[in-house]
Amino acid sequence: MKITIIPVGSVKTFMNETIVNVPAGISYEDILKSLKLPKSLRTIALVNNKRPNAKQVIHDGDELKIVSLIMGG
């Protein structure tokens, strides 16, 4: 199945928006691990603009946003 991975904010420095083929039943956490972003870059994921459950399974056509958590002051 195909999903779209969209980097948001500072994550754009490390990856581009991409459409990828992933196996059915994969969790968003497994996809995050496969991206190999720098460990020091704290991120959270949004699936279709909502916070997913811990082991939420991804479906065909889903939009996975990877959002960095470096906040201004």
């Binding site: 500072s10 994550v11 958590l69 201004g72």
Partner: protein
């Protein structure tokens, strides 16, 4: 004494006297410096009956022990006193170049009381301390004042100045260092204005810092600086400033929109984010003294209604306060609004939030055309904000300018009509541009328990919730889920101690994320010779946190004041935090238990104060 000089400058503007005064050495060990030491000095010398703008009020500038070390992030200073905006104890911090220069000139701080009979400036040069008339600067903005100071004292002189907002006693007037750095929050510019103190100028001859262990400090300083320079966060901040991740914040629901009524606006995210600022208007990057991050922006806008010459650019808070909060995605307008606030000397967070409150009040008819002198207040109308509202506020012109110069909390009390529902405050201070519902539920707790009111820099809770901290030596090993109450009270108890340490040592919250707990202890020991253990350091942080609460208790605050506007707690209507409730009451209850705070008085019990060596202080509040 090491690190600290052990001396402050005591100034009485009524009698025009300046006096060098020694500070007891144990005060540094017990209260660290900066915000903590300022609280201690007020406890000893302050007049609790004096209103913030009375001649008898104290205005206290205080360095931390690290000011003057050539290390990224440690060139900040604190100002403290009774806040004209909130009426109770508060403080504000500022980066830039003033704090190290004050240290090099031989002082840890300046304590000012009294009221000058004419506009004046304090001049601090080694062996040449004086008060000068400043009539010719009165009425000028910060930029022109700073320019004249440089012309008179040379470019190496560092200054603090107020603009017209401070002179006109706007309740959220700020104090600006070298045009670009501000003691922004809680209105201390108005306290300077009330004392007719236009500026403070400091100029040293040599940059000496007397460390307890110069070799150890030099080694530690180089190692920490390298970590700071190489961290991803620093690189991102260097490239795109403190608004670097505004776009990310919009997606998590951290960035407030239209007075915290919405939590998601995708189109605005890219329009206002730091990389867009870099692409469109950035001319240079600038830094505080000795800082390798250089997150400050220098911008120029060549055309359009918000054109501005090359000069200081906006921080994240300013961009959000004059952008998303007002329903605008006009980045140029945020730059112009921020520039005006720098020149008038006004806090951009309270200014933007107060205008957002007024826009909602107008929309809901709590403010009418009669109140606004015929001026409609509409979301996104930045021409009105920039050309009319900000000047009216700074000069307290007309009914509307006068009302909005009070800040949203007091303005709401003045007009009533249900407008309290549109507030976004705690203890009378407008919340910063981090929405607890998306940014992290722990923020709702730490906003409410902060001594100065809703504040994201009183402690590092924001960073702890986003996973930017890991302190196993003190038990902070949590990976927190921002949108949950789990472990938030426990984390907040560590956060208030760490926040007191940060704000008393006057360390930048962006830079110090790379510093481990053992390195913190070494920094204090190698620089100031405190000979601390981790436990000593954390106890000092807790002592400062408690003393600030005792001060507020003596100003009349109780546990009920540890509250926050409902707007910041009610479930979000859109975006990532949509529908998720913030369990505020249970977090607060748990925090009170962990911090041993009395559930009525809001202060620690007597035994806890005794255990921290605060028995004398306890006797003032537990009779």
């Amino acid at each position: 004494m090491y690190g600290n000089t052990g001396e402050i400058l005591l100034v009485d503007l009524s009698s025009e006297t300046l006096e060098r005064k020694k500070v007891p050495e144990e005060y540094y060990h017990n209260y660290i410096g900066g915000a903590g030491l300022a609280a201690r000095l007020f406890w000893d010398w302050g007049d609790f009956k004096a209103q913030p703008l009375d001649p008898g009020s104290l205005l206290i500038f205080m360095n931390g022990p690290f000011a003057g070390i050539r290390l990224s992030g440690c060139s900040r200073g604190s100002v403290a006193g009774r806040s004209p905006l909130t009426g109770h104890w508060g403080d504000s911090s500022c980066g830039g170049h003033f704090a190290p220069e004050l240290r090099f000139a031989g002082f840890d701080g300046i304590v000012i009381r009294g009221q000058s009979h004419r506009p004046c400036a304090i001049v601090i040069e080694p062996e040449n301390l004086r008060i000068l008339p400043a009539d010719e600067w009165w009425g000028l903005g910060v930029f022109e004042t700073t320019s004249r100071i440089r012309a008179k004292f040379g470019k190496r002189a560092k200054s603090l100045a107020i603009g017209q907002a401070g002179e006109n006693l706007v309740d959220y007037a700020c104090i600006v260092n070298d045009n670009h750095h501000a003691f922004g929050r809680a209105g201390y510019g108005a306290v300077m204005g009330s004392k007719r103190l236009k500026a403070i100028i400091v100029k040293s001859f040599e940059q000496n810092y007397h460390a307890a262990d110069p070799e150890g400090l030099d080694q530690l300083r180089r190692s920490i600086d390298l970590k700071i320079r190489e961290s991803v966060t620093s690189q991102v901040l260097h490239e795109n400033g403190t608004a670097a991740n505004l776009e990310g914040g919009v997606h998590t629901g951290d960035v407030p929109i239209k007075n915290f009524r919405s939590s998601f606006w995708e189109e605005m995210a890219e329009a206002l984010t730091g990389s867009t600022l870099s692409e469109k208007y950035l001319k240079n990057k600038a830094a505080c003294a000795f800082c390798k991050i250089a997150c400050k922006r220098v911008v120029e806008i060549n055309e359009g209604p918000f054109a501005i010459p090359k000069g200081p650019g906006p921080e994240y808070e300013t961009i959000a306060a004059f952008g998303s909060m007002l329903g605008s995605m006009d980045l140029a307008a945020t730059c112009k609004a921020g520039r005006l606030c720098n020149d008038y000397g006004m806090d951009t967070i309270t200014a933007g939030s107060t205008i957002a409150w007024a826009m909602e009040a107008f929309e809901k008819s709590a403010l009418t055309l009669e109140d606004t002198n015929g001026l409609p207040l509409k979301w996104g109308d930045m021409k009105t904000v920039v050309d009319i509202l900000l000047p009216q506020i700074a000069f307290r012109n007309g009914k509307l300018g006068g009302l909005l110069s009070l800040g949203s909390h007091k303005a709401s009390l003045q007009i009533n009509k249900g407008s309290g529902e549109y507030l976004t405050t705690s203890k009378g201070l407008e919340a910063p541009m981090h929405d607890p519902r998306g940014g992290g539920h722990g923020l709702a707790l730490t906003y409410s328990i902060s001594h100065r009111g809703a504040c994201h820099t009183a402690n590092p809770m924001l960073f702890m919730e986003m996973g930017a901290c890991y302190y196993p030596e003190i038990g902070f090993e949590y990976e927190l889920e921002p949108m949950s109450e789990e472990n938030k009270a426990e984390s907040a108890l560590l956060a208030v101690q760490l926040g007191a340490i940060e704000n008393s040592s006057c360390y930048c919250q962006f830079a110090d994320r790379e510093i481990t707990i053992p390195e913190w202890v070494d920094l204090f020991n190698f620089s100031a010779g405190y000979n601390w253990t981790i436990e000593n350091m954390m106890s000092a942080g807790l002592r400062v946190f408690y003393l600030q609460r005792l001060l507020n208790f003596r100003f009349g605050l109780t546990a009920d004041d540890d509250s926050i506007s409902m707007r910041l707690l009610e479930p979000a209507v859109d975006g990532a935090p949509e529908g998720v409730p913030v369990e505020f009451d249970s977090m607060k209850k748990r925090f009170y238990q962990l911090a041993r705070l009395d559930e009525i008085k809001g202060i620690p019990d007597r035994a806890t104060l005794d255990s921290l060596g605060m028995s004398v202080e306890a006797s003032y509040v537990w009779n």
